[in-house]
Amino acid sequence: MATAAPGTVALALRDVSKTFGQVVALRSGSLTVTAGSIHALVGENGAGKSTMVKIIAGLYRADSGSYELFGEPVDFRTTAEAKDAGVAVIYQEPTLFPDLSVTENLFMGRQPRNRFGRIDRKAMDTEARALFARLGVVIDPERPADGLSIADQQIIEIAKAISLDARVLIMDEPTAALSGVEVERLMTIARALRDEGRALVFISHRFDEVFSLCDTITVMRDGSYVSTDRIEDVTVEDVVRRLVGREVGNLYPKQDAEIGEVVLEIEGLSRAGVFHDVDLQVRRGEIVGLAGLVGAGRSEIMQAAFGVDPYDSGTVKVAGKVVPPNDPAAAIRLGLALVPEDRRKHGLVLESTLTQNITMAIRRRLSRGGLLTSGAENATARDWAARLEVKASTLDTLAGTLSGGNQQKVVLAKWLSTQPDVLIVDEPTRGIDVGTKAEVHRLLSTLAGEGLAVVMISSELPEVLGMADRVVVVHEGRITAELSRDEATPEAVMFAATNTAAATDTAATSTSAATSTHGASA
């Protein structure tokens, strides 16, 4: 494919917006990328980067704003249209077909064919092997994609994009789960692609990578465009200031709580391929932040402890009593509560009223002689809705019509009504506006102050650092660090979350790469 001369504007988005129901995912996104350049796009989680990427990829259509490719206005309705126009996207979470072979995953939808329409398996196999050889990785192209590590899945996504010969290549946190060597390799490839005149967008939270790889940087915050600069004109401090745009203190009203005895005790919890030898203790009044990269296994660990997911070995105890595996009802009785990551799918019955949702977990207790009266339900629900300041016109409002923040409060109310000893919250403020976020944080802090043990899984680093008394970092299913509030710096957490130096078999070879890529921030 012919690539444009360096300097031509390849990709231009102006004032693009996208709303989902009541949630504004992208307020006003702008991005201008020139050919022959690697453009960094940075912003906190929830800043709208991923939404913008999905608009570029044709997965979402923008509600407003303009989108141009090489000067031509475009409006992709499907990902296929974007692909045909030369846009390749490597997503944060790789999406492969588990039943199909690696080769088939690479070429799905565009397999080489002979003139009778028959897929040329030999050509496909040869090209797959050539691609992996070029990337310098050993992956059997004939094995099924099922069971590949995130790093390997990412490599396949990258191989796919390279073989697509895309003019515009967007990488949404491609290095998040890669080891030092793999990151170096990716950066070498990225530079080679840039030198051929392609336009690259690189999304990353690791500033050392951004500053060593990219030539231009665009900052986003709260769904809006903030700034675009040449990389040599800004410092990491400048970028961080624009990124956060506010004092971290206001958002995280952490109050001091008296830390009591151990309530939740997890010992040697393992599940093949998901998590290994997890030990975790949480005390009364304590907020433990579970940090790590997306897909590190944090949610899976807590879901296993709660009994939703199975585990192979290990024990979970609440206040000294063993929680039986695979039995969430028993876990609830023993004082565990879990606010799930996907509140619409797992936290709420969207078609039910606010009252019914709040009393969902305590129906047995509210019922008299097996009958549940709406009076008893409403009384309880009114109480909790008021305590958590749920903003809804009536208690009969359907949960699905509430805003994200209010939905989260309803889920919290549901679990708090069970009077738990341990509250597990998974991404408690995802997709919630800044104001309500602070309310949720204040609530968690108050609860801890009242003696509740809180486990908070969060991918938002500022949230973890602002809220947690102790930060436990998970990498590929293992706990790689346990940091006190004072030790928990962004660098320390990110280092443990990417765990470059500790990678067992590549330790020797990756040390030099790790120090060069991460040394700057450590």
Binding site: A80, G109, T188, H276
Partner: protein, 348 residues
């Protein structure tokens, strides 16, 4: 691949194409091999008890003739199941097409071939209705085709009333084709082989077929890949309907007599054949060949059990157990494979 190759930091060995031994092991481990073995065991045991089961003109003919209609249905069913749907209306489509074909012979003077083609086209149309409802209304195929199972059967019953088509209404050429043999194998079986060959080729070796596997394996990933999900769903159901239509035409050729009960409940045998043959009910895996072998195993067991002296009730129970066993086996194998792959990853 016009891009300049950046130097790899360390050059790991390029994995080579697997050896002949590895390929042979793959064949031996394939699900289809197990089903073929089961089929041969049933055949051998039954023949040992009653040699005429295989070594007689009738036995030899029935071996191929009995499964031929089911093979055609199972191929269509497998295509739909691979895309993570199911087509329960196959039996009703078969019945409706068979009756419509008979009526055309009785009421019109259209040439034989035209009538047969119209019959198959009717099947395609009925399948497209299923596909459109599934693809556009986004209702699970189980519900949609359960509905059309009754609707199509209802249309046929109100059309036919107590009336039925008799062999005397059917052109002699068609009936004699239905009982004819080529090279010692019944003509209808040859048709089923042709369907099997074309189906296996399309699903295994063309983009459209592989995309159906992909859609069944992970529908969300298919969206991200930009695969034409709606179109593929429509095609899958049209294929299943068209093949059910062809099965209806074959039914006419074989039996001549068409009552309102034609093809009643045969969709469940088709689902059973596909599942026994290793087509995973949750989509994305299995082969057309496996489904066809499943049909052979199912029909041969059906014929063999009376010879083994097993009562009618138990015959159905055996088939049911076979289906359950196949699904459980699938699940166990899948989980074992998944665990094995994960364990390899942990070890690495």
């Amino acid at each position: 691949m016009s891009t300049a190759a950046p130097p790899a930091p360390t050059a790991p060995p390029t994995p080579q194409a697997p050896s002949i031994g590895a390929r042979a092991r793959k064949v031996l481990q394939a699900r289809e091999t197990g089903i073929i073995l089961a089929f041969l065991v049933v055949l051998a045991v039954t023949t040992a008890i009653n040699p005429s089961f295989l070594f007689s003109t009738d036995g030899w003919r029935d071996l191929f003739l009995t499964p031929s209609i089911l093979v055609v249905l199972a191929v269509g069913q497998a295509i739909v199941i691979i895309t993570r749907s199911v087509d329960l209306s196959q039996g009703s489509v078969l019945g409706l097409v068979a009756y419509a074909t008979g009526r055309m012979f009785v009421d019109t003077g259209l040439p034989l071939v035209v009538v047969l083609l119209l019959g198959i086209l009717l099947g395609v149309g009925l399948g497209l209705i299923n596909g459109a409802l599934v693809a556009f209304a986004k209702v699970p195929a189980l519900v949609i085709t359960l509905g059309t199972l009754y609707v199509y059967r209802g249309i046929m019953m109100s059309w036919a009333g107590s009336d039925r088509i008799n062999a005397s209404d059917i052109p002699r050429d068609l009936l004699s084709f239905g009982t004819s043999s080529i090279l010692g194998i019944p003509s209808l079986a040859w048709i089923s082989f042709l369907v099997l060959g074309v189906g296996a080729y399309l699903m295994g070796r063309t983009r459209g077929g592989r995309e159906m596997y992909a859609i069944g394996s992970d529908p969300d990933a298919a969206t991200l890949y930009g695969l034409k999900k709606t179109q593929r769903t429509l095609v899958a159901f049209a294929a299943s309907g068209g093949l059910a239509g062809l099965a209806g035409v074959m039914y006419v050729a074989r039996y001549g007599t068409i009552s309102s009960g034609a093809g009643l409940g045969i969709e469940f045998e088709a689902v059973g054949a596909a599942v026994i043959g290793g087509v995973a009910i949750f989509g994305g895996s299995g082969t057309i060949f496996g489904a066809a072998v499943g049909a052979y195993l199912l029909m041969t067991i059906n014929r063999g059990l009376p010879i083994l002296g097993i009562q009618d009730f138990w015959q159905r129970a055996v088939v049911g157990l076979l289906i359950i066993a196949a699904i459980v086996l699938d699940k166990v194998l899948r989980e074992r494979q998944h665990k094995k792959l994960l364990a390899e990853r942990d070890a690495a």
